[in-house]
Symmetry: C2
Subunit: 562 residues, 2 copies
């Protein structure tokens, strides 16, 4: 294998790449200058008129990229998504990407950017990873405008009789800021607001982000915003945004954020990057509007869902797909040697050492995710995302494990080689679509009771023996039925590191029970969140934040973005 | 006078106006497609290269628009600025506007937009009044990233020995949100941060906004950000952003926000709208970069400064002008019949009634501002900004008062007639420039001690008999000298409604003393704030916020923006 001796950073590779003007990229999928709204030369939004015009067109095929349970560093799902799309393009297929927008908090914290890596990146990576076209800022603003209007309602007489101890709407910032998790506001006397407990979530955890990603159009967005539950009144009845009469103002703040953003890969495949809801507290998929528009513009759409197949893919299929009336034609399950070794019992500091034994033991995790995708009736291909540190013996062993069980698999080297490194995967995905004889089916019906829906996910997707509900959750199951929320799908909030609700249980745990601590209604988004374990909705910064390395050079170019 | 019987709203007038593509507007001042970065068809940023290229060009003449002490509704300074520029254009003068960006907080609260009014507006008004090109969001993000990094420093061991009781850096949102004025953060136990008192300012009150508006270029911006004082350590020594080593990251977050935004008036005069610092806690002028660039691109630049000549103009001349090496060739002092009647003793609810007597009594306020401008050695013209409710008798009386004292004056009807309503004013401004024989001079030298500088402003600009310093301020005067901050200019924080520090003292108060409660170092911006009276850095919302009327119509167009 021809591994480069000197490894370039993502931003170095991105900087050396020659972008085409976005108007040229738009033209490759039949969009004229009037169909897009430029943000500089290399970014654009699809106009509202264009989105309307596309609705009558036929849709292309959607391919969903998911993964095994990841390590904290991630398995390169975005990189595979980009590389696979470039491979499709190189095979002469009219292809688009539909991906999520990065959040600035993790970018400045520990994670670095979220625009793929190596020679499989979307560009301009520094813009996309920083403010991009301002969508997340618009969501932050709408989220906090709602909070300010709510607190002002308390201050100005509280006509709706909101119980200030039962306000569930939190404030948000697109930053990692642990000191804002639990705060007290409204201090300082009668003209400074009503004192109460509050807290900030990271913007991607805001229900407005989920609403934007599930809305069919601007009118649907407004209706969903109006349905959001922000508090309970003194009679314990839900109070909504519509009760506060501000869904119009919030929609106005989001009228441009709702339009998908067009960019390109290093190899000039067009990509719509739009929306980025958390994959724990929300459904972790890019916007319905972008995925749908991409499918109207191209014959093939490569899209991804957050974390492993137990979280993002399950939610794509049960929440996003059902809400939007879309289903994937095939699924790509990304696995890495590194993560499988960890699932096989290796500790993190030893992962650089070769161990076919650990890899073989960890294979069970991949197997479970494969079974999950099969249970939905979807064809799939496993993509082994090769890392430079993987040994030849490990890669061959993993390929052999798959072949022994007749699992369609392809080695991808998209990080190093771009689309050329994903051609085998692309060909196998095309074959999977062509030869597929099964029929997609959800694992639960929306008409099932909430607890049945949760049990179905926990048993069929996680492999748990059963689910347990806390006393609080039990009470909520009844209340939510009374409030008319029983027909919503479930959005599980669970650790991404394990199939179970315990991040320490790697591999394929068995004989475990999942505890649902609490339910949270996301009535605007249209799902009920079931919280298991500790769910982080506002990350913290590490001792050495990535921000310390960020800078601009003397020419005003970004430095230190990864 | 031909007053329309049916008065259209600003947004109706804006919507009916036909914008030209911004590339055409750019071309009128010699900018090519490559010189600008488009944000849709009607907004653009000047590129970094363009800004560099302009530096060697000769500068046009700057005309500063200021006003008397305003009423809460404002005297229409932005409207006169826009109308005057359109009048200049109609006279064949190559003219640009340099204005501030509106803040979303007041737009959603009580004030409505800040893009002029009637037929003297900058367009697209709904975009400019909402997210525009994201500058304020970038500043909010940089402000709060700094706060998060600071709190993370405390959390991770506090190597700099920051005294958590003496952290002066606050968080910010571009919203009116009184409940965030005084808060406690970091609650919830050891992994949730270090508990301490904190608070949010509105973004335009952030020192980063002032820094962005005073920076000469990106390198200067970075140096200024590094100098910002964010806390004091346990030895009471200042701790700066550079000590935290994050000025690079903050600069990266601001690398696009630092580029001025190009838009147009209803009559297609090009306008740079950039930066919008508060005129109390900061200096209240648009960015140096925008004003300088406008002067390189056009023969005449019309710019404005916040509130009355006692605040914005004084700060333009002593802070912005001195820092940037620019000075206006002439000043326009906007006055209204309405405000002068209030200064003459009429109560607000009676202002719609005719009263030449009150107007005559209130004339003293205008006189004082004229004297201030004269003391700087600058030629001026008074602009009477006609409101529809002004009676013929009142307008004639005001014109006569000016004529009696040989005050150059012009009646402007730019709200109703656009540039055509400002031609007389434009001609008088041109004449004032041509016939001017005086020489601009600041009222104080930077080498004067801080207390002398403050006394000079208070006596010469406000007409006070003296200044008094609180014990705290006295102590700070000494400390600030020790810290090497004695050479900075002063940024007075004072009520805009009165020449004194008491908002109730209208007209031209005499025999009053101004109390300086406290000083605040803005070392990055490069000034010392002297706080008098109560200074609001986070506004609240009224009982019926403007947000309640905001909406989008079925075509996705903005509704209810004023």
């Amino acid at each position: 294998m021809n591994l480069k001796t000197e490894v370039k950073s993502d931003i170095e590779i991105a900087r050396e790449s020659q972008m085409k003007p976005i108007v040229e990229i738009a033209a490759t999928v039949g969009l004229s200058d009037d169909d897009i709204e430029l943000f500089g030369k290399y970014k654009a939004k699809l106009s509202a008129d264009t989105l309307k015009k596309l609705q009558t067109k036929e849709s292309g095929k959607i391919i969903l990229v998911t993964s095994i349970n990841p390590t904290p560093a991630g398995e390169g799902k975005s990189t595979v998504t980009v590389g696979l799309a470039d491979a499709f393009t190189s095979l002469g297929k009219k292809t688009m990407i539909a991906m999520r927008e990065p959040s600035l908090g993790p970018t400045m914290g520990i994670k670095g950017g979220a625009t793929g890596g190596g020679y499989s990146q979307v560009l301009p990576m520094e813009d996309i990873n920083l403010h991009f076209t301002g969508d997340l800022h618009a969501i932050t603003t709408a989220n906090n405008a709602l909070a300010a209007l709510l607190d002002n309602h308390l201050q100005q007489g509280n006509e709706l009789q909101i119980d200030q101890r039962r306000i569930v709407w939190k404030r948000a910032l697109d930053l990692n800021d642990r000191a804002l998790r639990k705060i007290v506001i409204g201090l300082g006397g009668p003209v400074q607001g009503v004192p109460r407990e509050d807290g900030f979530d990271i913007t991607v955890a805001s229900e407005i982000m989920a609403v934007l990603c599930l809305a069919a159009d601007l009118n649907d967005l407004k209706a969903r915003l109006g349905r959001m539950v922000i508090a309970y009144n003194i009679n314990r009845e839900p109070v909504t945004v519509a009760d506060l009469d501000v869904e119009g103002a919030l929609t106005l703040l989001l009228k441009d954020a709702v339009k998908p953003n067009l960019v390109q890969t290093i190899e000039h495949t067009p990509a719509l990057i739009h929306g980025g809801p958390f994959a724990n507290i929300a459904h972790g998929c890019n916007s319905v509007i972008a995925t749908t528009a991409a499918a109207k513009l191209a014959d093939f759409v490569i899209t991804e869902a957050g974390f492993g197949a137990d979280l993002g893919a399950e939610k794509f299929l049960h929440i996003k797909g059902r809400s939007a009336g879309i289903k994937p034609e095939a699924v790509v399950i990304v696995a890495t040697v590194r993560a499988l070794k960890m699932h096989g019992g290796m500790i993190k500091s030893e992962l650089k050492n070769e161990s076919v034994a650990a890899l073989t033991a960890g294979f069970a995790n991949l197997k479970k995710h494969i079974e999950t995708i099969e249970s939905f009736g979807l064809p799939f291909v496993v993509a082994i995302n090769r890392f430079i540190t993987d040994t030849e013996a490990e890669v061959l062993a993993l390929l052999e494990l798959c072949r022994q069980e007749n699992i369609p698999v392809a080695l991808t080297e998209v990080w190093e080689k771009g689309g050329a490194g994903g051609v085998e995967l692309a060909e196998k995905v095309l074959k999977a679509i062509d030869t597929n004889e099964t029929e997609y089916q959800p694992l639960y019906d929306l008409s099932d009771p909430l607890d049945v829906k949760i049990r179905t996910i926990v048993q069929k997707v996680y492999g748990a023996s059963d689910v347990e509900f806390s006393p609080k959750a039990k009470k909520q199951l009844e209340e939510f039925d009374d409030f008319g929320w029983g027909h919503f799908p479930i959005c599980m909030a669970k650790t991404q590191y394990s199939l179970s609700d315990d991040p320490a249980k790697l591999g394929r745990p068995a004989d475990f029970t999942v505890l649902v601590r609490e339910l949270k209604p996301s009535v605007g988004a249209g799902f009920i969140v079931a919280l298991t374990g500790d769910v982080m909705t506002m990350p913290g910064l590490p001792k050495q934040p990535a921000a310390l390395k960020m800078d601009v050079d003397e020419n005003g170019q970004a430095v230190g973005l990864f």
